[in-house]
Protein backbone atom coordinates (compact mmCIF):
# COMPACT_ATOMS: atom_id res chain seq x y z
CA UNK A 1 0.00 0.00 0.00
CA UNK A 2 2.75 2.44 0.94
CA UNK A 3 4.86 1.47 -2.04
CA UNK A 4 1.82 1.80 -4.22
CA UNK A 5 1.31 5.33 -2.98
CA UNK A 6 4.93 6.19 -3.62
CA UNK A 7 4.66 4.98 -7.21
CA UNK A 8 1.55 7.06 -7.74
CA UNK A 9 3.25 10.12 -6.33
CA UNK A 10 6.32 9.50 -8.50
CA UNK A 11 4.10 9.22 -11.56
CA UNK A 12 2.49 12.61 -10.93
CA UNK A 13 5.34 14.55 -9.43
CA UNK A 14 8.36 12.83 -10.99
CA UNK A 15 8.48 14.65 -14.33
CA UNK A 16 8.06 18.05 -12.69
CA UNK A 17 10.73 17.28 -10.10
CA UNK A 18 13.12 16.06 -12.78
CA UNK A 19 12.66 19.14 -14.93
CA UNK A 20 12.87 21.50 -11.97
CA UNK A 21 16.04 19.88 -10.66
CA UNK A 22 17.73 19.74 -14.07
CA UNK A 23 16.83 23.18 -15.32
CA UNK A 24 16.46 25.30 -12.19
CA UNK A 25 18.18 23.73 -9.24
CA UNK A 26 21.36 22.35 -10.83
CA UNK A 27 21.96 25.38 -13.08
CA UNK A 28 21.60 27.67 -10.10
CA UNK A 29 24.12 25.63 -8.10
CA UNK A 30 26.43 25.45 -11.12
CA UNK A 31 26.25 29.20 -11.64
CA UNK A 32 27.09 29.92 -8.02
CA UNK A 33 29.87 27.32 -8.15
CA UNK A 34 31.22 28.73 -11.43
CA UNK A 35 31.47 32.13 -9.80
CA UNK A 36 34.26 30.67 -7.63
CA UNK A 37 36.18 29.26 -10.59
CA UNK A 38 38.31 30.79 -13.28
CA UNK A 39 35.97 29.51 -16.02
CA UNK A 40 36.50 31.20 -19.39
CA UNK A 41 35.80 30.54 -23.07
CA UNK A 42 33.46 27.73 -22.01
CA UNK A 43 36.49 25.53 -21.53
CA UNK A 44 34.84 23.22 -19.04
CA UNK A 45 37.67 20.67 -19.14
CA UNK A 46 40.37 23.15 -18.25
CA UNK A 47 38.64 25.34 -15.71
CA UNK A 48 35.89 23.36 -14.01
CA UNK A 49 38.07 22.68 -10.98
CA UNK A 50 40.22 25.79 -11.19
CA UNK A 51 38.88 27.31 -7.99
CA UNK A 52 39.89 30.90 -7.31
CA UNK A 53 37.83 31.69 -4.22
CA UNK A 54 36.41 35.17 -4.08
CA UNK A 55 38.64 36.45 -6.88
CA UNK A 56 35.75 37.07 -9.32
CA UNK A 57 33.82 39.03 -6.71
CA UNK A 58 36.84 41.19 -6.01
CA UNK A 59 37.27 41.81 -9.73
CA UNK A 60 33.61 42.73 -9.89
CA UNK A 61 33.96 45.29 -7.10
CA UNK A 62 37.13 46.65 -8.67
CA UNK A 63 35.53 46.97 -12.11
CA UNK A 64 32.39 48.51 -10.64
CA UNK A 65 34.63 51.19 -9.15
CA UNK A 66 36.97 51.88 -12.06
CA UNK A 67 35.74 50.33 -15.31
CA UNK A 68 33.26 52.63 -17.09
CA UNK A 69 31.52 49.66 -18.74
CA UNK A 70 30.66 48.13 -15.36
CA UNK A 71 29.94 51.45 -13.71
CA UNK A 72 27.64 52.54 -16.50
CA UNK A 73 25.87 49.19 -16.37
CA UNK A 74 25.18 49.72 -12.68
CA UNK A 75 23.89 53.24 -13.19
CA UNK A 76 21.79 52.22 -16.20
CA UNK A 77 20.30 49.33 -14.20
CA UNK A 78 19.28 51.58 -11.32
CA UNK A 79 17.71 54.18 -13.62
CA UNK A 80 16.13 51.59 -15.90
CA UNK A 81 14.59 49.54 -13.10
CA UNK A 82 13.40 52.54 -11.07
CA UNK A 83 11.82 54.49 -13.92
CA UNK A 84 10.37 51.51 -15.79
CA UNK A 85 8.93 50.24 -12.52
CA UNK A 86 7.11 53.52 -11.97
CA UNK A 87 5.90 53.45 -15.58
CA UNK A 88 4.73 49.86 -15.27
CA UNK A 89 2.92 50.22 -11.95
CA UNK A 90 1.39 53.65 -12.48
CA UNK A 91 0.76 53.00 -16.17
CA UNK A 92 -0.88 49.68 -15.37
CA UNK A 93 -2.98 51.28 -12.64
CA UNK A 94 -4.05 54.13 -14.90
CA UNK A 95 -4.98 51.75 -17.71
CA UNK A 96 -6.89 49.50 -15.33
CA UNK A 97 -8.89 52.37 -13.83
CA UNK A 98 -9.59 54.05 -17.16
CA UNK A 99 -10.64 50.87 -18.92
CA UNK A 100 -12.77 50.09 -15.88
CA UNK A 101 -14.68 53.33 -16.32
CA UNK A 102 -15.62 52.34 -19.86
CA UNK A 103 -18.19 49.75 -20.82
CA UNK A 104 -16.83 46.24 -21.07
CA UNK A 105 -17.46 45.95 -24.81
CA UNK A 106 -15.18 48.95 -25.45
CA UNK A 107 -12.71 48.37 -22.68
CA UNK A 108 -11.88 44.82 -23.75
CA UNK A 109 -10.34 46.09 -27.00
CA UNK A 110 -8.05 48.45 -25.17
CA UNK A 111 -6.97 45.81 -22.71
CA UNK A 112 -6.25 43.45 -25.58
CA UNK A 113 -4.30 46.11 -27.45
CA UNK A 114 -1.95 46.50 -24.50
CA UNK A 115 -1.44 42.75 -24.32
CA UNK A 116 -0.16 42.59 -27.88
CA UNK A 117 3.45 43.67 -27.11
CA UNK A 118 3.64 40.99 -24.41
CA UNK A 119 2.62 38.29 -26.84
CA UNK A 120 4.78 39.35 -29.76
CA UNK A 121 7.97 37.40 -30.48
CA UNK A 122 10.88 39.33 -29.03
CA UNK A 123 12.69 39.53 -32.37
CA UNK A 124 9.64 41.07 -34.09
CA UNK A 125 8.88 43.40 -31.20
CA UNK A 126 12.44 44.69 -31.22
CA UNK A 127 12.26 44.97 -35.00
CA UNK A 128 9.25 47.29 -34.67
CA UNK A 129 11.18 49.69 -32.44
CA UNK A 130 14.27 49.32 -34.56
CA UNK A 131 12.34 50.94 -37.40
CA UNK A 132 10.57 53.36 -35.09
CA UNK A 133 13.79 54.75 -33.59
CA UNK A 134 15.91 54.35 -36.75
CA UNK A 135 18.56 57.06 -36.94
CA UNK A 136 17.89 57.95 -40.60
CA UNK A 137 14.90 59.69 -42.10
CA UNK A 138 13.46 56.20 -42.55
CA UNK A 139 12.75 55.98 -38.81
CA UNK A 140 9.10 56.60 -38.01
CA UNK A 141 9.81 58.96 -35.11
CA UNK A 142 12.19 61.03 -37.23
CA UNK A 143 9.69 61.01 -40.08
CA UNK A 144 6.87 62.26 -37.90
CA UNK A 145 8.98 65.05 -36.40
CA UNK A 146 10.34 66.02 -39.84
CA UNK A 147 6.82 66.20 -41.25
CA UNK A 148 5.66 68.24 -38.30
CA UNK A 149 8.59 70.57 -38.80
CA UNK A 150 9.90 70.04 -35.27
CA UNK A 151 13.34 68.95 -36.52
CA UNK A 152 15.07 69.62 -39.84
CA UNK A 153 17.38 66.64 -39.94
CA UNK A 154 17.02 63.11 -38.58
CA UNK A 155 18.21 62.45 -35.04
CA UNK A 156 20.16 59.43 -33.90
CA UNK A 157 17.93 58.69 -30.91
CA UNK A 158 20.15 56.02 -29.39
CA UNK A 159 22.98 58.48 -28.84
CA UNK A 160 20.91 61.63 -28.48
CA UNK A 161 21.95 63.58 -25.37
CA UNK A 162 23.68 60.56 -23.89
CA UNK A 163 22.75 58.70 -21.81
CA UNK A 164 19.21 60.09 -21.86
CA UNK A 165 18.34 59.01 -25.41
CA UNK A 166 19.42 55.44 -24.77
CA UNK A 167 17.65 55.24 -21.42
CA UNK A 168 14.48 56.65 -22.89
CA UNK A 169 14.41 53.95 -25.58
CA UNK A 170 15.08 51.14 -23.08
CA UNK A 171 12.36 52.41 -20.75
CA UNK A 172 9.86 53.00 -23.53
CA UNK A 173 10.31 49.61 -25.19
CA UNK A 174 10.25 47.60 -21.95
CA UNK A 175 7.57 49.79 -20.38
CA UNK A 176 5.13 48.98 -23.18
CA UNK A 177 5.59 45.28 -22.48
CA UNK A 178 5.38 45.79 -18.74
CA UNK A 179 2.24 47.87 -18.26
CA UNK A 180 -0.05 45.06 -19.37
CA UNK A 181 0.84 42.90 -16.37
CA UNK A 182 -0.16 45.57 -13.87
CA UNK A 183 -3.22 46.45 -15.94
CA UNK A 184 -4.56 42.88 -15.91
CA UNK A 185 -3.90 42.26 -12.23
CA UNK A 186 -5.33 45.62 -11.16
CA UNK A 187 -8.32 45.35 -13.45
CA UNK A 188 -9.41 42.02 -12.04
CA UNK A 189 -8.73 43.30 -8.51
CA UNK A 190 -10.91 46.37 -9.10
CA UNK A 191 -13.69 44.23 -10.48
CA UNK A 192 -13.75 42.21 -7.30
CA UNK A 193 -14.41 45.26 -5.10
CA UNK A 194 -17.94 44.98 -3.62
CA UNK A 195 -20.06 47.27 -5.77
CA UNK A 196 -22.03 48.57 -2.76
CA UNK A 197 -18.99 50.56 -1.63
CA UNK A 198 -18.89 52.56 -4.82
CA UNK A 199 -22.67 52.85 -5.04
CA UNK A 200 -22.79 54.23 -1.50
CA UNK A 201 -20.04 56.72 -2.27
CA UNK A 202 -21.91 57.80 -5.39
CA UNK A 203 -25.09 58.36 -3.40
CA UNK A 204 -23.10 60.50 -1.01
CA UNK A 205 -21.95 62.54 -3.98
CA UNK A 206 -18.33 61.42 -4.21
CA UNK A 207 -16.53 62.42 -7.43
CA UNK A 208 -14.66 59.95 -9.63
CA UNK A 209 -11.32 61.11 -8.27
CA UNK A 210 -12.47 60.67 -4.68
CA UNK A 211 -13.69 57.18 -5.51
CA UNK A 212 -10.34 56.31 -7.05
CA UNK A 213 -8.35 57.78 -4.16
CA UNK A 214 -10.52 56.66 -1.26
CA UNK A 215 -11.94 53.35 -2.44
CA UNK A 216 -10.22 51.80 -5.43
CA UNK A 217 -6.56 52.38 -4.55
CA UNK A 218 -6.85 51.41 -0.85
CA UNK A 219 -8.79 48.27 -1.73
CA UNK A 220 -6.14 47.02 -4.12
CA UNK A 221 -3.07 47.97 -2.11
CA UNK A 222 -1.90 44.38 -1.78
CA UNK A 223 -2.07 43.99 -5.52
CA UNK A 224 -0.10 47.19 -5.87
CA UNK A 225 2.58 45.86 -3.58
CA UNK A 226 2.66 42.49 -5.33
CA UNK A 227 2.92 43.96 -8.82
CA UNK A 228 5.64 46.35 -7.69
CA UNK A 229 7.84 43.66 -6.17
CA UNK A 230 7.19 41.21 -9.00
CA UNK A 231 7.89 43.76 -11.71
CA UNK A 232 11.03 44.93 -9.96
CA UNK A 233 12.27 41.38 -10.10
CA UNK A 234 11.32 40.99 -13.75
CA UNK A 235 13.01 44.25 -14.69
CA UNK A 236 16.19 43.39 -12.84
CA UNK A 237 16.52 40.17 -14.77
CA UNK A 238 15.09 41.01 -18.19
CA UNK A 239 17.59 41.39 -20.98
CA UNK A 240 16.32 39.85 -24.23
CA UNK A 241 14.73 42.99 -25.67
CA UNK A 242 17.68 45.03 -24.46
CA UNK A 243 20.11 42.58 -26.04
CA UNK A 244 18.57 43.04 -29.48
CA UNK A 245 18.42 46.84 -29.21
CA UNK A 246 22.06 46.70 -28.12
CA UNK A 247 23.12 44.25 -30.85
CA UNK A 248 21.42 46.22 -33.59
CA UNK A 249 22.93 49.49 -32.44
CA UNK A 250 19.59 51.11 -31.64
CA UNK A 251 20.95 52.11 -28.24
CA UNK A 252 24.39 53.33 -27.31
CA UNK A 253 26.83 50.54 -26.46
CA UNK A 254 28.31 52.20 -23.41
CA UNK A 255 25.01 53.14 -21.82
CA UNK A 256 22.59 50.55 -23.18
CA UNK A 257 23.74 47.68 -21.03
CA UNK A 258 21.93 46.71 -17.83
CA UNK A 259 23.45 44.41 -15.23
CA UNK A 260 21.64 41.32 -16.50
CA UNK A 261 22.66 42.03 -20.08
CA UNK A 262 26.21 42.52 -18.83
CA UNK A 263 26.05 39.02 -17.35
CA UNK A 264 24.85 37.60 -20.66
CA UNK A 265 27.41 39.51 -22.70
CA UNK A 266 30.29 38.50 -20.43
CA UNK A 267 29.27 34.87 -20.77
CA UNK A 268 28.16 34.65 -24.40
CA UNK A 269 28.94 37.68 -26.55
CA UNK A 270 31.44 36.45 -29.10
CA UNK A 271 33.51 39.61 -28.90
CA UNK A 272 36.62 39.69 -26.78
CA UNK A 273 37.15 37.32 -23.92
CA UNK A 274 34.32 35.19 -22.59
CA UNK A 275 34.62 35.16 -18.81
CA UNK A 276 31.99 32.84 -17.38
CA UNK A 277 33.51 32.93 -13.89
CA UNK A 278 33.12 36.68 -13.72
CA UNK A 279 29.70 36.53 -15.39
CA UNK A 280 28.59 33.92 -12.86
CA UNK A 281 29.69 36.17 -10.00
CA UNK A 282 27.68 39.03 -11.48
CA UNK A 283 24.74 36.64 -11.89
CA UNK A 284 25.03 35.43 -8.31
CA UNK A 285 24.58 39.00 -7.11
CA UNK A 286 21.29 39.03 -9.02
CA UNK A 287 20.32 35.64 -7.58
CA UNK A 288 20.66 36.99 -4.05
CA UNK A 289 18.54 40.01 -4.87
CA UNK A 290 16.05 37.73 -6.66
CA UNK A 291 15.78 35.40 -3.68
CA UNK A 292 15.06 38.28 -1.32
CA UNK A 293 12.45 39.82 -3.62
CA UNK A 294 10.95 36.37 -4.20
CA UNK A 295 10.49 35.85 -0.46
CA UNK A 296 8.90 39.27 -0.13
CA UNK A 297 6.51 38.34 -2.95
CA UNK A 298 5.51 35.16 -1.15
CA UNK A 299 4.79 37.13 2.00
CA UNK A 300 2.64 39.56 0.06
CA UNK A 301 0.74 36.78 -1.64
CA UNK A 302 -0.22 35.50 1.78
CA UNK A 303 1.20 32.15 0.97
CA UNK A 304 -0.04 30.34 4.07
CA UNK A 305 -3.61 31.05 3.06
CA UNK A 306 -3.13 29.61 -0.42
CA UNK A 307 -1.66 26.32 0.62
CA UNK A 308 -4.43 24.85 2.73
CA UNK A 309 -4.55 21.08 3.19
CA UNK A 310 -5.93 19.21 0.19
CA UNK A 311 -9.45 18.04 0.61
CA UNK A 312 -10.23 14.38 0.84
CA UNK A 313 -6.77 12.91 0.58
CA UNK A 314 -7.09 9.20 1.28
Amino acid sequence: MRLDRLFTLAFFLGPALLIVITFFFLPLLLTVYTSFTNMRNWNVDAYLFDIVGLYNYKVLVHFAKYDPMFRNALITTVVFVAVTLVVNVLGGLTLAILTFFLEERISIHYRLLWLLPRMTPVAVYSLLWYYFFHSDAIGTLNRILLLAGVIDKPINWGSYMLPLGTWWILIFVNGLVGVSFGMIVFYSAIRSIPWEYIAAARVDGASNLVIIRRIIVPMIRWHLLFVTVWQMLSLLTTYTHIFLLYEWGVVDRTWGQTWSLLVFNLAFLPVGELRQGLAAAAATVLVVIGAILGLVTLRILGFQRMITRPRGDI
Binding site: T31, F101, V122
Partner: protein, 302 residues
Protein backbone atom coordinates in the same frame (compact mmCIF):
# COMPACT_ATOMS: atom_id res chain seq x y z
CA UNK B 1 -25.82 43.86 -21.25
CA UNK B 2 -25.44 41.28 -18.63
CA UNK B 3 -23.95 42.74 -15.77
CA UNK B 4 -21.51 43.10 -13.17
CA UNK B 5 -23.36 45.50 -10.84
CA UNK B 6 -20.07 47.17 -10.04
CA UNK B 7 -19.54 47.98 -13.68
CA UNK B 8 -23.03 49.45 -13.97
CA UNK B 9 -22.53 51.56 -10.87
CA UNK B 10 -19.27 52.96 -12.18
CA UNK B 11 -19.77 53.05 -15.90
CA UNK B 12 -23.40 54.08 -15.64
CA UNK B 13 -22.72 57.08 -13.48
CA UNK B 14 -20.00 58.88 -15.37
CA UNK B 15 -20.87 61.27 -18.13
CA UNK B 16 -20.79 60.33 -21.77
CA UNK B 17 -18.37 63.13 -22.47
CA UNK B 18 -15.90 61.85 -19.91
CA UNK B 19 -16.11 58.39 -21.45
CA UNK B 20 -15.29 59.79 -24.87
CA UNK B 21 -12.34 61.69 -23.42
CA UNK B 22 -11.08 58.50 -21.74
CA UNK B 23 -11.53 56.44 -24.90
CA UNK B 24 -9.64 59.01 -26.99
CA UNK B 25 -6.84 59.31 -24.42
CA UNK B 26 -6.43 55.54 -24.38
CA UNK B 27 -6.40 55.45 -28.16
CA UNK B 28 -3.71 58.14 -28.24
CA UNK B 29 -1.63 56.30 -25.64
CA UNK B 30 -1.94 53.09 -27.63
CA UNK B 31 -1.19 54.70 -30.96
CA UNK B 32 2.53 53.79 -31.02
CA UNK B 33 1.53 50.12 -30.79
CA UNK B 34 -1.05 50.38 -33.58
CA UNK B 35 1.29 52.52 -35.67
CA UNK B 36 4.38 50.31 -35.46
CA UNK B 37 2.55 47.03 -36.07
CA UNK B 38 0.57 48.55 -38.93
CA UNK B 39 3.63 50.03 -40.60
CA UNK B 40 5.61 46.79 -40.34
CA UNK B 41 2.82 44.79 -41.96
CA UNK B 42 2.27 47.41 -44.68
CA UNK B 43 6.02 47.57 -45.38
CA UNK B 44 6.09 43.86 -46.07
CA UNK B 45 3.70 44.53 -48.97
CA UNK B 46 5.49 47.58 -50.29
CA UNK B 47 8.50 48.22 -52.52
CA UNK B 48 10.05 50.45 -49.89
CA UNK B 49 9.74 50.76 -46.15
CA UNK B 50 6.56 52.50 -45.07
CA UNK B 51 7.56 54.59 -42.08
CA UNK B 52 5.55 57.69 -42.79
CA UNK B 53 2.24 57.64 -40.94
CA UNK B 54 0.67 59.35 -43.98
CA UNK B 55 1.63 56.25 -46.02
CA UNK B 56 3.14 58.32 -48.84
CA UNK B 57 5.81 55.62 -49.41
CA UNK B 58 3.38 52.82 -49.88
CA UNK B 59 3.87 51.09 -53.25
CA UNK B 60 2.05 47.77 -53.19
CA UNK B 61 3.90 44.62 -54.24
CA UNK B 62 4.09 40.96 -53.31
CA UNK B 63 7.76 40.63 -54.18
CA UNK B 64 8.99 40.76 -50.57
CA UNK B 65 6.90 37.77 -49.62
CA UNK B 66 7.89 35.81 -52.71
CA UNK B 67 11.57 36.54 -52.11
CA UNK B 68 11.36 35.75 -48.40
CA UNK B 69 9.50 32.49 -48.88
CA UNK B 70 12.07 31.45 -51.47
CA UNK B 71 14.76 32.25 -48.93
CA UNK B 72 16.22 35.07 -50.97
CA UNK B 73 16.92 37.94 -48.67
CA UNK B 74 18.41 40.43 -51.04
CA UNK B 75 17.45 41.69 -54.47
CA UNK B 76 21.00 41.50 -55.75
CA UNK B 77 21.58 38.55 -58.05
CA UNK B 78 23.58 35.82 -56.42
CA UNK B 79 22.39 37.15 -53.10
CA UNK B 80 22.21 35.05 -50.01
CA UNK B 81 19.71 32.27 -49.90
CA UNK B 82 18.31 30.65 -46.82
CA UNK B 83 16.09 27.72 -46.23
CA UNK B 84 13.05 29.43 -44.78
CA UNK B 85 11.04 26.22 -44.62
CA UNK B 86 13.71 24.55 -42.52
CA UNK B 87 14.07 27.39 -40.06
CA UNK B 88 10.30 27.67 -39.72
CA UNK B 89 10.14 23.94 -39.00
CA UNK B 90 12.86 24.23 -36.35
CA UNK B 91 11.01 27.09 -34.63
CA UNK B 92 7.70 25.26 -34.90
CA UNK B 93 9.16 22.01 -33.53
CA UNK B 94 10.53 23.82 -30.51
CA UNK B 95 7.27 25.70 -29.90
CA UNK B 96 5.12 22.56 -30.16
CA UNK B 97 7.60 20.61 -28.05
CA UNK B 98 7.61 23.27 -25.34
CA UNK B 99 3.80 23.38 -25.33
CA UNK B 100 3.33 19.61 -25.05
CA UNK B 101 6.08 19.07 -22.49
CA UNK B 102 5.15 21.95 -20.20
CA UNK B 103 1.43 21.16 -20.34
CA UNK B 104 1.77 17.46 -19.60
CA UNK B 105 4.32 17.87 -16.83
CA UNK B 106 2.25 20.59 -15.15
CA UNK B 107 -1.01 18.73 -15.52
CA UNK B 108 0.51 15.77 -13.67
CA UNK B 109 2.22 17.77 -10.94
CA UNK B 110 -0.73 20.07 -10.29
CA UNK B 111 -2.96 17.08 -9.59
CA UNK B 112 -0.71 15.74 -6.87
CA UNK B 113 -0.34 19.19 -5.31
CA UNK B 114 -4.08 19.75 -5.34
CA UNK B 115 -5.21 16.29 -4.27
CA UNK B 116 -2.51 14.41 -2.43
CA UNK B 117 -0.82 15.04 0.89
CA UNK B 118 2.91 14.42 0.91
CA UNK B 119 5.92 15.58 2.79
CA UNK B 120 7.31 18.81 1.47
CA UNK B 121 4.16 19.72 -0.43
CA UNK B 122 4.03 23.24 0.97
CA UNK B 123 7.73 23.85 0.40
CA UNK B 124 7.52 22.54 -3.15
CA UNK B 125 4.54 24.73 -4.01
CA UNK B 126 6.17 27.80 -2.48
CA UNK B 127 9.41 26.90 -4.19
CA UNK B 128 7.68 26.98 -7.58
CA UNK B 129 6.89 30.68 -7.18
CA UNK B 130 10.42 31.31 -6.03
CA UNK B 131 11.72 29.55 -9.14
CA UNK B 132 9.82 31.94 -11.28
CA UNK B 133 11.54 34.68 -9.37
CA UNK B 134 15.04 33.51 -10.15
CA UNK B 135 16.79 35.47 -12.83
CA UNK B 136 16.89 33.90 -16.27
CA UNK B 137 20.45 35.16 -16.66
CA UNK B 138 21.59 33.30 -13.58
CA UNK B 139 20.05 30.15 -14.93
CA UNK B 140 21.31 30.34 -18.47
CA UNK B 141 25.00 30.06 -17.55
CA UNK B 142 24.28 26.87 -15.61
CA UNK B 143 21.82 25.60 -18.21
CA UNK B 144 24.47 26.02 -20.89
CA UNK B 145 27.08 24.21 -18.78
CA UNK B 146 24.73 21.27 -18.34
CA UNK B 147 24.15 21.33 -22.11
CA UNK B 148 27.91 21.09 -22.70
CA UNK B 149 28.50 18.46 -20.03
CA UNK B 150 25.67 16.13 -21.13
CA UNK B 151 26.57 16.61 -24.78
CA UNK B 152 30.20 15.80 -24.05
CA UNK B 153 29.41 12.72 -22.02
CA UNK B 154 27.02 11.36 -24.64
CA UNK B 155 29.26 12.47 -27.47
CA UNK B 156 26.41 14.30 -29.17
CA UNK B 157 27.48 17.92 -28.69
CA UNK B 158 26.65 19.86 -31.83
CA UNK B 159 24.20 17.32 -33.12
CA UNK B 160 20.96 18.83 -34.32
CA UNK B 161 18.64 16.38 -32.60
CA UNK B 162 20.30 16.78 -29.21
CA UNK B 163 20.33 20.57 -29.40
CA UNK B 164 16.65 20.78 -30.32
CA UNK B 165 15.56 18.23 -27.70
CA UNK B 166 17.57 20.07 -25.06
CA UNK B 167 16.18 23.48 -25.95
CA UNK B 168 12.62 22.09 -25.77
CA UNK B 169 13.11 20.70 -22.27
CA UNK B 170 15.06 23.70 -21.00
CA UNK B 171 12.55 26.19 -22.35
CA UNK B 172 9.55 24.14 -21.20
CA UNK B 173 11.04 24.12 -17.69
CA UNK B 174 10.69 27.91 -17.52
CA UNK B 175 6.95 27.59 -18.17
CA UNK B 176 6.33 24.76 -15.72
CA UNK B 177 6.08 26.68 -12.40
CA UNK B 178 3.36 29.04 -13.58
CA UNK B 179 1.48 26.31 -15.45
CA UNK B 180 1.43 24.14 -12.31
CA UNK B 181 -0.01 27.04 -10.33
CA UNK B 182 -2.65 27.61 -12.95
CA UNK B 183 -3.70 23.96 -13.12
CA UNK B 184 -3.68 23.73 -9.33
CA UNK B 185 -6.24 26.53 -9.28
CA UNK B 186 -8.41 24.63 -11.78
CA UNK B 187 -8.17 21.34 -9.86
CA UNK B 188 -8.91 23.03 -6.52
CA UNK B 189 -12.23 24.26 -7.86
CA UNK B 190 -13.48 20.81 -8.90
CA UNK B 191 -15.72 19.26 -6.23
CA UNK B 192 -13.93 16.46 -4.50
CA UNK B 193 -17.07 14.29 -4.49
CA UNK B 194 -16.72 13.70 -8.23
CA UNK B 195 -13.63 11.56 -7.86
CA UNK B 196 -14.35 10.28 -4.38
CA UNK B 197 -16.82 7.61 -5.47
CA UNK B 198 -14.48 6.41 -8.19
CA UNK B 199 -11.64 6.10 -5.67
CA UNK B 200 -13.87 4.21 -3.23
CA UNK B 201 -14.86 1.85 -6.04
CA UNK B 202 -11.20 1.04 -6.40
CA UNK B 203 -10.09 3.13 -9.37
CA UNK B 204 -6.45 4.16 -9.25
CA UNK B 205 -5.49 7.81 -8.88
CA UNK B 206 -3.94 7.79 -12.32
CA UNK B 207 -7.23 6.62 -13.76
CA UNK B 208 -9.22 9.18 -11.79
CA UNK B 209 -6.86 11.89 -12.94
CA UNK B 210 -7.08 10.88 -16.58
CA UNK B 211 -10.76 10.08 -16.97
CA UNK B 212 -12.42 12.43 -14.49
CA UNK B 213 -10.22 15.45 -13.82
CA UNK B 214 -8.41 16.03 -17.10
CA UNK B 215 -11.64 16.29 -19.14
CA UNK B 216 -12.94 18.83 -16.62
CA UNK B 217 -10.00 21.20 -17.03
CA UNK B 218 -10.02 21.21 -20.83
CA UNK B 219 -10.37 25.00 -21.00
CA UNK B 220 -7.30 25.31 -18.78
CA UNK B 221 -5.40 22.87 -20.96
CA UNK B 222 -6.28 24.86 -24.07
CA UNK B 223 -5.09 28.06 -22.42
CA UNK B 224 -1.80 26.57 -21.21
CA UNK B 225 -1.14 24.91 -24.58
CA UNK B 226 -1.60 28.21 -26.39
CA UNK B 227 0.50 30.19 -23.96
CA UNK B 228 3.32 27.71 -23.81
CA UNK B 229 3.28 27.39 -27.58
CA UNK B 230 3.62 31.16 -27.88
CA UNK B 231 6.37 31.15 -25.25
CA UNK B 232 8.34 28.65 -27.32
CA UNK B 233 7.52 30.43 -30.56
CA UNK B 234 8.63 33.85 -29.32
CA UNK B 235 11.77 32.61 -27.59
CA UNK B 236 14.97 34.22 -28.72
CA UNK B 237 17.86 33.73 -26.30
CA UNK B 238 17.72 29.92 -26.19
CA UNK B 239 17.75 29.72 -29.97
CA UNK B 240 20.62 32.17 -30.02
CA UNK B 241 22.69 30.35 -27.43
CA UNK B 242 21.92 26.69 -28.12
CA UNK B 243 21.16 26.45 -31.84
CA UNK B 244 22.87 29.26 -33.69
CA UNK B 245 26.46 28.38 -32.72
CA UNK B 246 25.85 24.91 -34.10
CA UNK B 247 24.68 26.22 -37.44
CA UNK B 248 20.96 25.66 -36.91
CA UNK B 249 18.84 28.56 -38.09
CA UNK B 250 15.52 29.56 -36.56
CA UNK B 251 13.18 32.47 -37.28
CA UNK B 252 14.31 34.61 -34.32
CA UNK B 253 18.03 34.19 -34.91
CA UNK B 254 17.50 34.70 -38.63
CA UNK B 255 15.80 38.03 -38.01
CA UNK B 256 18.46 39.01 -35.50
CA UNK B 257 21.17 38.23 -38.00
CA UNK B 258 19.72 40.01 -41.02
CA UNK B 259 18.89 43.13 -39.01
CA UNK B 260 22.40 43.19 -37.52
CA UNK B 261 23.69 43.33 -41.09
CA UNK B 262 20.78 45.36 -42.45
CA UNK B 263 22.83 47.36 -44.95
CA UNK B 264 23.33 44.22 -47.03
CA UNK B 265 19.69 43.29 -47.13
CA UNK B 266 16.45 44.66 -48.37
CA UNK B 267 14.62 46.14 -45.40
CA UNK B 268 11.20 45.29 -46.80
CA UNK B 269 12.13 41.60 -46.97
CA UNK B 270 13.04 41.81 -43.29
CA UNK B 271 9.60 43.32 -42.73
CA UNK B 272 8.06 40.32 -44.50
CA UNK B 273 10.10 37.96 -42.34
CA UNK B 274 8.97 39.81 -39.22
CA UNK B 275 5.32 39.75 -40.28
CA UNK B 276 5.57 36.04 -41.10
CA UNK B 277 7.01 35.37 -37.65
CA UNK B 278 4.19 37.43 -36.11
CA UNK B 279 1.39 35.45 -37.82
CA UNK B 280 0.70 32.75 -35.18
CA UNK B 281 0.62 35.40 -32.48
CA UNK B 282 -1.97 37.40 -34.38
CA UNK B 283 -4.01 34.29 -35.16
CA UNK B 284 -4.10 33.22 -31.51
CA UNK B 285 -4.66 36.80 -30.46
CA UNK B 286 -7.79 37.05 -32.57
CA UNK B 287 -9.09 33.56 -31.83
CA UNK B 288 -8.61 33.59 -28.09
CA UNK B 289 -9.24 37.14 -26.94
CA UNK B 290 -11.40 36.32 -23.93
CA UNK B 291 -9.28 33.38 -22.91
CA UNK B 292 -6.24 35.60 -23.16
CA UNK B 293 -7.49 38.14 -20.67
CA UNK B 294 -8.75 35.49 -18.28
CA UNK B 295 -5.59 33.43 -18.40
CA UNK B 296 -3.40 36.46 -17.84
CA UNK B 297 -5.49 37.61 -14.90
CA UNK B 298 -4.93 34.14 -13.48
CA UNK B 299 -1.29 35.14 -13.40
CA UNK B 300 0.10 32.98 -16.12
CA UNK B 301 3.08 35.13 -16.77
CA UNK B 302 4.91 37.85 -14.93
Amino acid sequence: MSGNPLEEVVSGSISRRLKIVIALALLLAGSPIILTYGLLILSSFSTNMVTDPLLTDFQPTLDNWIMFLRGQITYATGGLERNVVEMTLVTLTVAVGVALTATLVSLLAAYSISRMEFKGRGVFTAGLIMLHAFPGVALIIGVYMIFRIIGDVLGVLGEEFYAIAYIILARAALEVPMAIWLFKGFFDKIPWELEWSALVDGASRVRVWWSILVPLVKPGIAAVLIFTFLAGWEEFIYFYVFLKPFGIDSLPTFIEEIVAAAENYQLTIIAAAGTFYLLPTIVFFVLTQRLLLEAYSGGLKG
